[in-house]
């Protein structure tokens, strides 16, 4: 039992998220606004927040690597989106060529900023602040201040469609996929536990193990059921899952990921341990540029238009998600899972308040307070442990 409490303590952010969800669900139902967990709204939350999650993952690496943020991501989203719009709508370029071009532009922008930050050692705050204005200006130039739409359907289907395409059979297919995923997760967990026991490595105790399994499989089945009751699996969810899994793996399990944490934890120590600190720093900003381009592609598809004002304030959503998710402003600390939960947390707040019909001005105010207090609670709880 005590071990379960221990898990809950370690995942206090997740608990807070669940608490907020329950609070909204009760309030929404009580005021007769329907339900937050209606199948269509659940799908909505995923697609509404896809761009924040993608940006938060990139931002997290900047924060881990040097305790610094990238203020320019919103503008990069606008610029890359503008290029996508001009290519696909105005020039009717091949969709795949346009996507590839956009991703390369993102990488080049990242390399441009990374060069100044990592090799010339201009403070990241200044470089990305300049980038924020520079790329916004370029987006306006590319679009000539106009909004471009609509995008070709063969492009949109990669971001906004559902699997399966037909409504009929959506339920059974989604549930089958969900059950297969659960089975894979279960099998993998048991396999790795047995493997550890065989090699005489340390394993977590049985209660903790079973508790974690039950919670994760429960959450998977629940989400799968809600998606199945709507239109099936959103394509964007697959993209998100791939991104989150790949970057989690990178952060947790690879040598390069470990070196990134070392860079943020103590740059001098990392350098004296053989880490190519300049390259790591450069890489985090290249990666940020790449993910900002991905987010841009998602955004233009979702709004079905490329606008010069797109991506306004996205950098702040992404930064907020990372800090709510427990990343340290000093660098070296933070997890991909935390950033994702932070992003969902903000998304749920937005969604819940919108359903309740709360005025947009109030929404902002509340979000500001939540961001502050999430970090305050985190800092205070860590102080008490010391």
């Amino acid at each position: 039992m005590s071990s379960i409490i221990e898990i809950l303590k370690r995942n206090s952010l997740l608990l807070a998220l669940v608490a907020v969800m329950i609070f909204f669900e009760i309030t929404i139902r009580a005021t007769g606004h329907g339900s937050m967990f209606s199948p269509s709204n659940f799908t909505n939350i995923i697609s509404q927040n896809s761009y924040v999650i993608i940006l938060a993952v990139g931002m997290l690496f900047c924060i881990i690597g040097c305790g610094n943020v990238d203020l320019s991501v919103g503008s990069i989203v606008a610029l890359v989106g503008a290029i996508a719009g001009v290519m696909m709508v105005n020039w009717e370029t091949n969709v795949y060529l346009a996507i590839a071009t956009c991703l390369i532009v993102g990488i080049l922008i990242g390399a441009w900023q990374g060069f100044w930050i990592a090799y010339v050692r201009i403070p990241a705050f200044i470089v990305t602040l300049a980038g924020m204005m520079l790329f916004r200006g370029m987006a306006l130039l590319v679009l000539d201040g106009l909004t471009i739409s609509p995008f070709p359907p063969e492009y949109l289907r990669y971001f906004t469609s559902f699997i399966p395409k037909a409504r009929s059979g959506a339920f059974s297919l989604t549930m089958v996929v969900t059950i297969i995923l659960c089975a894979i997760y279960l099998g993998f967990s048991i396999y790795s536990r047995l493997n550890k026991i065989k090699k005489n490595y340390q394993v977590e105790d049985k209660t903790t193990f079973i508790f974690t399994l039950v919670v994760v499989i429960g959450a998977l089945l629940g989400s799968g059921f809600l998606l199945a009751s709507n239109k099936g699996i959103p394509v964007i969810l697959i993209l998100l899952t791939v991104i989150v899994l790949v970057y989690s793996f990178f952060a947790n399990r690879t040598v390069a990921g470990r070196r990134l944490y070392a860079l943020g934890g103590n740059e001098k120590a990392a350098k004296l341990s053989g880490v190519n600190t300049n390259f790591m720093l450069f890489f985090t900003y290249v990666n940020m540029g790449f993910l900002a381009a991905v987010a841009a592609l998602v955004c233009v598809a979702r709004f079905n238009s490329a606008a010069p004002t797109a991506g306004n304030g996205y950098e702040l959503d992404a930064i907020g998600a990372c800090f709510i998710g427990g990343a340290s402003a000093y660098g070296g600390v933070g997890t991909v899972a935390g950033a994702v939960i932070g992003a969902v947390f903000m998304g749920v707040l937005n969604n819940g308040m919108s359903i309740l019909g709360i005025d947009a001005n109030w929404q902002r105010t509340v979000k500001g307070l939540v961001l502050l207090f999430a970090v305050v609670i985190d800092v205070l709880s860590k102080k008490r442990v010391k």
């Binding site: 944490y261 070392a262 934890g265 004296l272 190519n276």
Partner: protein, 515 residues
């Protein structure tokens, strides 16, 4: 002139179990320059911190009698109010403020109508007067960063005078000054003495002390040994050195069974390094040294002699510019252009600054242990975290690191245990040669002994160790051979049988004089 201005009586200061000062007595006459000498760590700075109130009244035993009154200083403000001003080795000036602003920092000249508004004309006028007094001909509007260290030192003195100083304490004032600036500073002190000011000077440069001081108090191992009168400025340096080092070695060092082999493991030839900011200044000047298999080689010298700079520049060019010279490992010439290459070639550098340059304090022991050799706990760049935990636990047991678990954050460990984690990290990198930079700095006697045992085990395995240490007893107790470095040069090399505190100190001091 016979009045006693300051008397510190039976001062005892403990840090936990460690006694830093034991029954120290110091008597300073009004109007004299009193020198305080002793080795690094003898307790000079601790004594001055007691005097200035940094260690407040109640945290030490004994009495401070200043100007006839027993004083209880609770902070630096209390002592400054009495006119005791200390100038530290690292100057406490704000680089981007002007000379005048720095002079009156915390002590601003304010307008007559409000104590909160700065009176600039008065500030600059008084600043000019003060600068005149210390012989510094600079515009008080000049920024501190634009004047040299020597002039900054003068600004510090002027700042002390602005506070109506009665007793001026200078900690190593000439350590970073060249000959001319040092001489100017000493003459200024002599000049102030004729005007009745009292000062205490802490210095390693015994020729300067002999030149300026009226009395010399020697501190050793936290006790006052003697006060030598130097009214005629004729005390010989050897006389001071004898007082500083005359101590019998007890068995603070574990016996080593093995003898070094004759096989040369590492050789550095004609190594030159320049200062990264001041390219004309050579921090290593044609340094050559060898390390044999199974040998502990000591590198002795004062702080700032260029030892750490030598080690860092060899270790993947982590310090300095215009580096040239040759490094041979196992008889083969190697180019160690990056840290990774140095590690791959079997070199390890264990830093003197474990918190600043060595450890990730907010990460676990495990993560710190494997950081320099992630290859051995990963397959195709994918970490095997279970193997990692086993490795860390293995080293925890081997080095007897006291911690409940290897998942503990390194920042929560004691200094001695942190040092063990740092050693574990570099042992796991499987080097042939380890450069240990001040391996026992700031850790207690018990942990020191354990570190020495680890060093003995390392050389038993046939590794070579280069030990940089400012503690002479440690060098003498642990090393098979000793190099003495001073001002970027190797000035002496001696086998253990010939090495003694006197021979090392005199090698350093003799070459310092020639400057």
């Amino acid at each position: 002139m016979e009045k006693t201005l300051l008397e510190m009586r039976n001062i005892t200061k403990r840090f936990g179990k460690v006694t830093a000062l034991s029954n120290v007595n110091l008597k300073v006459r009004e109007g004299e320059v009193h020198a305080l000498v002793g080795e690094n760590g003898a307790g000079k700075s601790t004594l001055m911190n007691v005097l200035s109130g940094i260690y407040p009244y109640g945290s030490y035993e004994g009495d401070i009698i200043f100007d006839g009154n027993t004083c209880e200083f609770h902070g630096i403000r209390d002592s400054e109010e009495k006119g005791i001003v200390i100038i530290h080795q690292e100057l406490a000036l704000v680089p981007f403020l002007s000379i005048a602003e720095n002079l009156f920092l915390g002590n601003e000249r304010t307008a007559s109508w409000s104590g909160k508004v700065v009176d600039w004309p008065r500030t600059y006028k008084r600043a000019s007067e003060l600068l005149e007094l210390v012989g510094l001909h600079e515009d008080p509007r000049t920024l501190i960063k634009d004047i040299g260290v020597g002039k900054q030192q003068l600004v510090e003195i002027a700042k002390a005078i602005a506070k109506n100083v009665r007793l001026l304490i200078l900690d190593e004032p000439t350590a970073s000054l060249n000959e001319t600036d040092s001489q100017q500073l000493l003459d200024l002190l002599a000049d102030f003495r004729t005007k009745g000011m009292t000062s205490i000077i802490i210095s390693h440069k015994l020729n300067e002390i002999s030149y300026i001081a009226n009395n010399i108090t020697v501190i050793r191992d936290g006790s006052t040994i003697e006060t030598i009168s130097n009214e005629n400025h004729d005390v010989k340096e050897d006389r001071i050195i004898a007082g500083m080092v005359g101590r019998a070695l007890t068995d603070r060092f574990p016996k080593r069974e093995t003898k070094p082999s004759s096989e040369v493991l590492m050789e550095i030839k004609n190594w030159n390094v320049s200062h990264p900011l001041n390219h004309d200044r050579k921090v290593c000047d044609n340094v050559s040294l060898t390390i044999h298999k199974g040998e502990v080689v000591g590198l002795s010298g004062l702080m700032g002699a260029g030892r750490t700079e030598l080690a860092k520049s060899v270790f993947g060019r982590s310090y300095g510019v215009n580096i040239h010279g040759e490094v041979y490992l196992r008889g083969k010439k190697v180019e160690l252009n990056t840290v990774q290459k140095a590690i791959d070639e079997g070199l390890a550098y264990v830093t003197e600054d474990r918190k600043g340059d060595g450890l990730l304090l907010a990460q676990s022991i495990t993560i710190n242990t494997t950081l320099a050799n992630l290859e051995d706990v990963s397959n195709h760049s994918v970490l095997d975290k279970d193997k990692e935990a086993l490795v860390a636990d293995d080293y925890r047991q081997k080095l007897n690191t006291k911690t409940p678990s290897v998942r503990q954050l390194v920042g929560n460990l004691s200094g001695g245990n942190q040092q063990k984690v740092l050693l574990a990290k570099w042992m796991f990198a499987h080097p042939d040669v380890l450069i240990l930079d001040e391996p026992t700095r700031g850790i207690d006697v018990g942990a020191k002994y354990e570190i020495y045992c680890i060093i003995n085990d390392l050389v038993k395995e046939g590794k070579g160790v280069l030990m940089i240490s400012s503690e002479l007893p440690e060098i003498l107790g642990m090393c098979d051979r000793v190099y003495v470095m001073n001002e970027g040069k190797i000035v002496a090399q001696m086998p253990r049988s010939e090495a003694s505190q006197e021979s090392i100190m005199s090698a350093i001091l003799k070459t310092s004089d020639k400057k």
